[in-house]
């Protein structure tokens, strides 16, 4: 009798113990009001509460309305105050749940259903409902609202359709399957109860709402911080949101920091100075500054990290548009052998040394080396070799005469103008280097920087340019740059707005992009992107120079620092101070 009782007791204790262990190990942390908070998985450490985190911004904020905001500075504030249905993991680039705790996609790829996380409240206490999500999308598509989010949600001219399924679910439907849908659907959600009056007055009125002249307590969001004050031209101060829906692995509600301050500084010099004098805690150094700042690490109590390459680069593009250039120049620029020869005459190593102080990787592909998801290293390369360039030119019929001048088959002297936007020292430096090397080939090249609006007017309006050195930033998915790569795109710089693809390879790129847009499986998209990069490298419409590395610098007192894509150092909500005294 006693033996059986003992066995029962032991089994029961064991079971209890196991349940207890299982409960504390594997169960997801809970917050009192949020049954399923998102757990910050990328952060390596559990942090301490308290502290003020100060960063600098070169421009002033233009608006606090996330629907309307299009510039980086405003994004610093709206990004801390608002969230979208989904968000991008800053290390892997994958899309993760945010306000939506899960989603499903229909088998035909045309319908996406998102389920809202329960318990989330706005910073004024009202609950987040599916009505707010509907309202945000409605506002995005209201005519007159000054937003750029519409384009990402419009496919082949038709906007995405949405409808409410129930109190927690919303369904989006597209005409054809859109694989990239997740990349565009994460627009920041705004509260209906605060903005519906403004939207009722029309799109123009909505664009003016929640501008920088708004009293801070009116700006209501779901994000980790709430706007406490804004002093025009000087700074914005944000305070911790005590009802935020993310937690760390131990179940502590995020964020850790009490205050988040964004200082407005006039230029990069001032930003650096404030960082070195410990007025700010973070600084994105330029490649040139890395070696010097490394020496100042001890004195300034900070660490400068050797970050990965950014996604954008500068490149040279030749005008192949008959509406902008006439023969014989048109003939040369449209001749792929001419372009390939020029590509061999670009001294990328000097560019890397002089402009980036060695901290850049040579660019052969249109997709950055730093884009770990989609970069294709196996594309054609064009090492700097003037002899080879001259040889290729000769084979294509461009001969250097006894006077040292290069002429085409008809005897025309090869001459053209390279332009770029004035005031950008990196681009001006590159232009100078190119001009000198191309001149060695016997060409007569002029380098003429011009004002940015003029340049843009030529690129997108009159098309009257010959060669331009310019740069584009990139998202992680190349297909988000549709306007650039599709032959019908208006940023398809060398020959925009084509009714039908002018060449076979441009037609092939069009097909590849169509397929990637529809393809939901990421590994299949990668195959398509690989082929896209091969074509671009072989045909050389853009001649990329190098992908500069990032070198973020952070005060040593900060924790949860893990370098991600393009030099991002961590998430705002998991940042904390190792020793809290302010």
């Amino acid at each position: 009798m006693v033996r059986r009782a003992t066995i029962y007791l032991m089994a029961g204790t064991l079971a209890l113990a196991m349940a207890f262990i299982a409960g504390s190990l594997g169960a997801a942390p809970r917050l009192p009001d949020i049954p399923n908070p998102k757990v910050a998985a990328e952060a390596p450490e559990i942090g301490k509460y308290g502290g003020t985190y100060v960063i600098s911004s070169i421009s002033d904020f233009r608006t606090f309305n996330p629907v309307v905001s299009q510039d980086t500075a405003s994004g610093l504030v709206t990004g801390a105050i608002f969230d979208g249905l989904v968000e991008q993991n800053y290390v892997t680039g994958e899309i993760e749940p945010a306000l939506a705790e899960s989603w499903t996609v229909s088998r035909d790829g045309k319908s996406w259903t998102f389920t809202l996380r329960q318990g989330i409240r706005w910073s004024d206490g009202k609950p987040l409902t599916i009505e707010d999500v509907l309202f945000t999308f409605q506002a995005t598509f209201t005519p007159g609202v000054d937003t750029s989010n519409r384009d990402g949600l419009t496919f082949e001219g038709k906007p995405v359709r949405w409808r409410k399924l129930d109190e927690r679910r919303i369904q989006f439907t597209t005409e054809k399957p859109i694989g990239l849908f997740l990349r565009f659907v994460g627009i920041e959600i705004v509260p209906k109860h605060k903005l519906q009056d403004a939207l009722a007055k029309g799109g123009a009125e909505f664009s003016k709402t929640w501008g920088v002249n708004t009293p801070p307590r009116d700006i209501v969001g779901t994000g980790p911080y709430v706007l406490q004050s804004y002093v025009p031209g000087q700074r914005a101060t944000l305070l911790r949101n005590t009802t935020y829906w993310k937690a760390d692995r131990k179940g502590n509600r995020l964020p850790y920091l009490t205050r988040y301050i964004i200082l407005i500084v006039p230029n990069v010099e001032a930003a650096r100075l404030k960082f070195l004098s410990k007025e700010t805690d973070a600084y994105s150094a330029r490649p040139r500054e890395f070696a010097e700042l490394k020496q100042l690490e001890k004195q300034g109590n900070f660490t400068i990290y050797d970050g990965p390459e950014s996604f954008g680069s500068e490149f040279l593009v030749l005008n192949q548009n008959p509406a902008g250039v006439s023969p014989p120049k048109l003939t040369w620029f449209q001749d792929v052998r001419f372009r390939r020869a020029l590509n061999h005459a670009i001294d990328r190593n000097t560019i890397v040394q002089q402009i980036y102080a060695g901290r850049a990787t040579l660019a052969w592909s249109a997709v950055s080396v730093g884009n770990k998801l989609f970069h294709n290293p196996r594309v054609q390369q064009y090492p700097y070799d003037l002899t080879r360039a001259q040889q290729l030119l000769a084979e294509a019929g461009y001969q250097k005469g006894t006077d040292g001048v290069l002429r085409d088959g008809q005897g025309n002297v090869i001459e053209f103008t390279i332009s770029t936007n004035a005031g950008n020292p990196d681009r001006e430096a590159i232009g100078n280097i190119l001009r000198q090397d191309f001149t060695k080939l016997g060409m007569r090249v002029t380098f003429a920087p011009e004002s940015f609006p003029t340049l843009v007017g030529k690129l997108t309006g009159t098309y009257k340019w010959e060669a331009i050195v310019i740069g584009l930033t990139g998202g992680i998915e190349p297909a988000t740059g549709r306007n650039v790569w599709l032959s019908s795109g208006d940023l398809h710089m060398w020959r925009p707005n084509q009714k039908e693809p002018a060449t076979d390879w441009e037609a092939e790129i069009d097909r590849l992009f169509e397929q990637t847009s529809a393809e939901v499986d990421q590994s299949k998209r990668k195959v398509l992107y690989n082929r896209f990069q091969e074509i671009v490298a072989t045909q050389a419409p853009f001649m990329h120079f190098a992908y500069p590395k990032s070198q973020p610098a952070l005060r040593n007192t900060l924790g949860n620092i893990k370098i991600g894509l393009q030099g991002a150092t961590g998430e705002l909500e998991t940042r904390y101070y190792k020793t809290v005294f302010k």
Partner: protein, 381 residues
């Protein structure tokens, strides 16, 4: 005449000096006063030196304007030395060749094995002396692979001393050229308005006031932002001159007009009118020449304004553009905190700007004192 009767070396008593001075022209009196103002003379001498350097820029500069040494960017100044590494003194100054030791920290290492003596009248890049005579001769230089970068190099490896010399042509001349446009227009416009007075004056001055009411710097800024940017350096230079003139002529006209207004009641004008001279003749022959002292003073005091204005514009990116050099854009390119600590020689153009502006101000001050009879010293009062 009293002057011819006196031997030059004779010392004059005060009374005699008074008598002599009474017979001199205002120009000569002013010159005498100016000579007393020693600082003004120093200013004048400095300017003379700077303008000579500007004229002979191609000759004095060891390298050409956009020669970029790709392996020697941010190179510190290489001054000729007399004492070598081991402490031996050489009579002939020399330099060592350098190589880039650390691209990140921009550190150069000298190769002390070989000395490269400083040579004068060397053969260098071809150019045209005084824009006419083709020649190869430069004032000084050293044999490659050594370099003589008296003021270091910039981020492209271009010799700063050379660029400062060429830049002086732009900075020192821009104000003067603008004056060449402003002064004639201002004289005519202000002269007519002041002389005729009344309705004519009223209407003419309204237009002038609109321009004056405009905050000058913003007008300069917006007009420069408007310039087509794919024009060559020289064209842009002339366009900037035109803009400066457009801003300057209004104030100048008003000044002239005020002066003429007071002059026209004077006796010599009334006399000329009495004998029946035409208005135009009176304006041109009697009134305007009397404004000459005013013109000279205003001129010397407005040129420094042009130099500073151009440097401010270049700082904002609207002034003279690459690859041309002006002191303004050289200073703007060099004036940042990274350079202050690591490559401070890039701030030398600032020194030249200050020097020229101070010299002009002293000269202008001296001239103003000299032409103002109330400020004369040593002759009465």
């Amino acid at each position: 005449m009293a002057r011819a009767a006196l031997p030059r070396s004779a010392r004059l008593s005060q009374a005699q000096e008074l008598a002599v001075s009474a017979a001199r022209t205002p120009r000569a009196l002013a010159w005498r006063q100016l000579r007393k103002h020693r600082i003004a003379l120093i200013g004048g001498a400095i300017l003379a030196g700077l303008y000579t350097l500007a004229l002979l820029a191609d000759f004095v500069a060891p390298y050409s304007l956009d020669l970029a040494d790709r392996e020697r960017f941010f190179h510190p100044p290489t001054l000729p030395r007399f004492v070598d590494d081991e402490g031996k003194v050489h009579l002939r100054p020399f330099v060592y060749a350098t190589v880039l030791a650390d691209p990140g920290l921009r550190v150069y290492r000298e190769n002390t094995n070989r000395q490269y003596p400083l040579m004068v009248f060397v053969r260098g890049e071809p150019y045209r002396l005084f824009w006419i005579f083709p020649t190869y001769v430069h004032l000084f230089g050293v044999e490659p692979p050594a370099r003589i970068y008296l003021m270091g190099t910039d981020q492209f490896g271009r010799d700063l001393f050379t660029r400062i010399l060429y830049g002086s042509r732009v900075s020192l001349v821009i104000g003067i050229l603008a004056l060449c446009v402003t002064i004639p227009i201002g004289l005519v416009y202000g002269g007519i308005a002041g002389y005729y007075g009344g309705r004519v004056d009223n209407v003419m001055m309204r237009l002038v006031e609109v321009i004056i009411a405009f905050p000058a710097f913003y007008l300069f800024l917006t007009l420069s932002a408007v310039l087509p940017t794919n024009v060559g350096c020289t064209t842009r230079f002339y366009l900037l001159v035109l803009i400066l003139s457009f801003i300057g002529w209004a104030g100048f006209s008003r000044l002239i007009r005020g002066f003429v207004l007071s002059l026209k009641e004077q006796e010599f004008v009334l006399a000329a009118r009495a004998i029946g001279q035409s208005d135009l003749r009176i304006i041109v022959h009697h009134v305007l020449p009397n404004t000459s002292s005013l013109v000279i003073v205003v001129a010397t005091l407005s040129v420094p304004g042009a130099i500073l204005g151009e440097s401010g514009l270049s700082f904002l990116g609207f002034g003279i553009r690459e690859p041309c050099a002006s002191w303004g854009n050289l200073l703007s390119a060099g004036a940042n905190l990274v350079n202050l600590s690591r490559s401070p020689w890039l701030l030398l153009p600032g020194l030249f700007i200050v020097l020229a502006v101070v010299a002009y101000n002293f000269l202008g001050d001296g001239l103003r004192d000299a032409f103002d009879p109330r400020l004369r010293t040593g002759s009465g009062g």
